[in-house]
């Protein structure tokens, strides 16, 4: 078990150290960490294949109340903005899959849902509270990060701004 102090973590990350961290400095402007995962239907989801689209990457869990508020809105955005190039991907941080399967139908999730893990969480800066949403531009770079209960109107404006960038 590695015992780290946050200041040391920051120093290591800033120095390009290879050690994993609990929560890293901002990923804004950086290329979104790549992943390939099956979604709940078994379909292969490769983030690299989303290049050219605006990706809304949402970390959530079934037990997270604010997450359950956001997800139907993201589903509506997927419907209304999918043709413009929006792709929502939800990463469940539940420990088990069973409740996630049930939630997908209940929350009307019309986009890929993948199961997350600590590795993916760490790669995305440490998901140590939910929800966390990243907006990834058409160039594959992270444009914004939203943590906790978020003003969805503000997020929608940011999505539309990214969609307008060709």
């Amino acid at each position: 078990m590695r015992v780290l102090v946050w200041g040391l973590v920051v120093a290591l990350v800033c120095a390009g150290g290879a050690m994993g961290s609990a929560e890293q400095p901002s990923l804004i402007g950086r290329e979104a960490p790549h992943f390939v995962r099956p979604d709940l239907t078994g379909k292969r989801i490769d983030l690299a294949e989303m290049r050219g689209k605006v990706v809304l990457l949402n970390f959530w869990a079934t037990w997270c109340a604010p997450c359950r508020v956001e997800l139907p809105t993201f589903a509506a955005w997927q419907t209304s903005n999918g043709q413009e190039g929006l792709q929502v991907i939800a990463v469940s941080m539940d420990d088990e899959r069973e409740p996630v399967d049930k939630a997908v139908a209940r929350l009307k999730m019309n986009f890929p849902v993948i199961m997350g893990d600590a590795k993916l969480g760490n790669e995305y800066g440490g998901v140590l509270g939910l929800p966390v949403t990243y907006l990834i531009g058409r160039d594959g770079r992270i444009a914004a990060r939203y943590a906790g209960e978020t003003d969805l109107k503000q997020m929608e404006s940011a999505v539309k701004k990214l969609l307008s960038q060709r």
């Binding site: 078990m1 946050w6 929560e23 869990a61 049930k102 600590a118 440490g126 140590l128 509270g129 209960e149």
Partner: protein
């Protein structure tokens, strides 16, 4: 892990935890770092995935307090612990008032007869209120 509690209201919310039984992060960090022989038993009662990413050094994962299986795990973790031992539980998955885990875990420990149970007060989430404030962190199982 059973999921019957996933969408139901927690059986006990954090509002049931008296203010006197809330512990501030700085106070726990001092205890964890100290040399006292009788350190508190620190248990994370939220998400295992979050525990693997970051947790308080010396703490153990004890199951999600919002789930029946999690409460069973919690019971097994404290089965041989003396009733007056200081036990500090924490989650940090969500803002304090939204946390589905700490309240039920606190309630269960009290029901089991533990007399010195504290809940770590995490206003926003573990990332902001523990890791981001520079308190010590461990990773892994």
């Amino acid at each position: 892990m059973p999921c019957q509690a996933q969408f139901s209201a927690p059986e006990a919310s954090v509002s049931s935890i008296p203010e006197s039984d809330r512990m501030q992060p700085a106070a726990l960090a001092k205890m964890v770092a100290g040399q006292a022989a009788d350190k508190p038993l620190v248990l994370q009662v939220g998400s295992r995935l979050m525990f693997e990413q970051a947790h308080i050094p010396g703490s153990a994962y004890a199951g999600a307090g919002s789930q029946a299986a999690g409460l069973q795990m919690l019971e097994s973790k404290v089965a041989s612990v003396r009733k007056n031992k200081l036990i500090v539980i924490y989650c940090g998955c969500c803002p304090w008032t939204r946390c589905p885990n700490v309240g039920p875990a606190y309630k269960r420990l009290r029901e089991l007869g533990f007399t010195n149970v504290k809940a770590l007060y995490i206003p926003n989430n573990f990332g902001d209120d523990w890791v981001g404030k520079g308190f010590p962190v461990a990773q892994g199982e």
